[in-house]
């Protein structure tokens, strides 16, 4: 199996005298050299503001920026490039839909179905708009294994249901949700569905037209691209009906004090100068992923998931949180009564970076009746040796706290 570590310069270092083992790609992935180079190259040779200048440099920057949008469109197989709205991150993408779609569509007594396994960024924006409109957020329950029971989900729909918000893959449980089926059920009730793809995009093949969801949000920085770039995919007919989220330059057609008219998609939702360099960097990250191939990525990560699940399950007193049949390479666990923060600190001293805490999913922690857990999340650069190092690190944790 190919080792991709060499493409990621940051991984070539020691932490507390030990080689860095990065197992927190679920929080943010590391960046390959080609992405780092592309950003530097852009600032050295091609930078100017986009969609404005008549001069060569501005046209070059505009071309690179729009080419990146096109790559994103191709990568997720969206029907049109104007359905790709470039924002700051998944969080902003969800807030955009909650505020713009919600403000014009939610009324008193309406209900928004949100799954119990959501990240706070797919809960709080809905609570905010619900409060503003007098609507209500209703939790979609999950099974002990960490799955959504479609029969239970079906029963939650009523005439009051106005939106479904669900994650494609859980950042804690790793569960891959049956988005295609959930979308079909929502559509039977004429309800749109927003999918949080932050944990799915670089780990699963994502075909938007096949999923048929109405909105899909994801971040560049979890997919080997730079921070500060997110994508909102939305179906044309919905985006066209929605009012702008922010006002400013670049999102207008004509401005006067009497009346302003808005630009067409996608510009209507992209007020102000965007994060040009990092969007271009994200385009290069997509090139990198496509060169490896999504099937290769899935194969490698599923192999890591199986290996890590087997090794970790063999540790006495270790309990894995989330045992869904279909998972991305994310494993959360608790170890006896040792607190996750203490585990995180000890592992850090072994050079191993894991996440410890509530993972911005407090309702999920409550569901499993745990205050926190440790999460190891894998990327294409991880290896079986990294898993072995984690297992050895957990043995030192147990020795210290015995």
């Amino acid at each position: 199996m190919m080792n991709y570590k060499k493409d990621f310069p940051i991984l070539n270092q020691t932490i507390h005298g030990k080689p860095l083992i990065y197992l927190d790609s679920g929080a943010s992935s590391q960046k390959p050299q080609c992405v780092i180079d592309a950003i530097s190259q852009y600032y050295q040779h091609d930078h100017a503001n986009i969609h404005r200048g008549v001069y060569e440099l501005s046209q070059r920057a505009t071309h690179l920026y729009e080419a990146a949008r096109h790559k994103i469109k191709e990568f997720i197989n969206a029907a049109h490039a104007h359905e790709i709205i470039l924002v700051r991150g998944t969080t902003e993408a969800i807030n955009l839909v909650a505020q713009s779609y919600g403000r014009t569509h939610f009324k008193v007594g309406d209900e928004i179905l949100v799954s119990t396994m959501e990240h706070h960024s797919n809960i709080v924006p809905w609570q905010m708009i619900a409060e503003q409109c007098g609507a209500k957020v209703v939790a979609i329950p999950i099974t002990d294994n960490g799955e959504i029971d479609l029969q239970v989900y079906k029963k939650l729909f009523s005439i009051r249901t106005k939106m479904v918000a669900v994650t494609h893959a859980s950042n804690v449980l790793g569960t891959i949700n049956p988005i295609k089926e959930m979308t079909a059920i929502a559509h039977e009730h004429n309800v749109p569905i927003l999918v949080d793809g932050a944990q799915a995009l670089p780990h699963l093949p994502v075909d938007i037209q096949d999923l048929n969801c109405d909105f899909y949000a994801f971040s560049s920085h979890k997919a080997y691209g730079p921070t500060g770039v997110g994508v909102l995919y939305g179906k044309t007919e919905l985006l066209e009906k929605m009012p702008p989220y922010q006002g400013g330059g670049d999102m207008i057609e004509r401005v006067s004090f009497a009346k302003t008219t808005y630009a067409k998609l996608p510009a209507k939702f992209e007020a102000g100068t965007p994060n040009i360099a990092d969007v271009i960097g994200f385009g290069v990250a997509i090139d990198y992923l496509e060169k490896i191939g999504i099937e290769t990525i899935v194969g490698k990560e599923q192999d890591l998931l199986a290996y890590a699940t087997e090794k970790l399950s063999a540790i006495p007193e270790l309990r894995i949180i989330g045992n869904a049949a279909h998972k991305v390479a994310v494993i959360s666990f608790v170890l006896g009564d040792i607190h996750p923060h203490d585990i995180g600190t000890v592992l850090d001293h072994e050079g191993i970076a894991v996440r410890a805490g509530h993972h911005c999913a407090m309702p999920l922690m409550e569901r499993y009746n745990i205050p926190a857990c440790v999460r190891a999340s894998f990327g294409i650069y991880n290896t079986h040796e990294d898993v072995d190092a984690l297992v050895a690190g957990l043995e030192s944790v147990k020795r210290l706290f015995k």
Partner: protein
């Protein structure tokens, strides 16, 4: 360095916190919360004429936060509010600057926290909660309000 943080005393107090549980005749009570990690503490204080007679707590958190609360509840018992104020300041200096003070007694074992900036809030949660409990400010206290 790791052993300095996780000394036997800390692991022992973290595992078996002293003065754990509700204090029925408390006249000060406060909930403390660290929103970044989810650590939670309920602190109960029985105070008479400016002297703290008894501190008890309930909650969940890492070894550092539980040990800090446990040791605090032992060391501050019988102290006046003025003495507690001094110890609070000395403790803060210990975990942020590493300055040991003889006032601190066995709290000095928490000095290793200084090398772990990410864990300072774990060590100070109980203390901020105590401060708020004694001042009787309304609402729960959060580690994200001071600094």
């Amino acid at each position: 360095m790791l052993r300095e943080l996780y000394q036997e005393v800390i692991i022992d107090h973290g595992r078996h916190p002293r003065n754990f549980g509700v204090l029925p005749n408390a006249n000060h009570h406060k909930e403390g919360f660290n929103p970044l990690c989810g650590d939670k503490i309920h602190l109960y204080v029985q105070e008479e004429n400016g002297v703290v007679k008894k501190i008890q707590f309930e909650g969940c958190g890492c070894a550092i936060s539980m040990a800090s609360a446990s040791l605090m509840s032992e060391v501050l018992c019988g102290k006046t509010l003025t003495e507690i104020n001094t110890i609070f300041n000395d403790f803060h200096l210990l975990v942020t600057e590493g300055n040991p003070s003889k006032n601190l007694g066995k709290l000095a074992v928490l000095g290793g926290v200084r090398e772990f900036p990410a864990r300072v809030k774990c060590a100070t949660l109980a203390w901020h909660t105590l401060n708020a409990a004694l001042q009787d400010t309304s609402g729960p206290v959060s580690t994200e309000e001071d600094e």
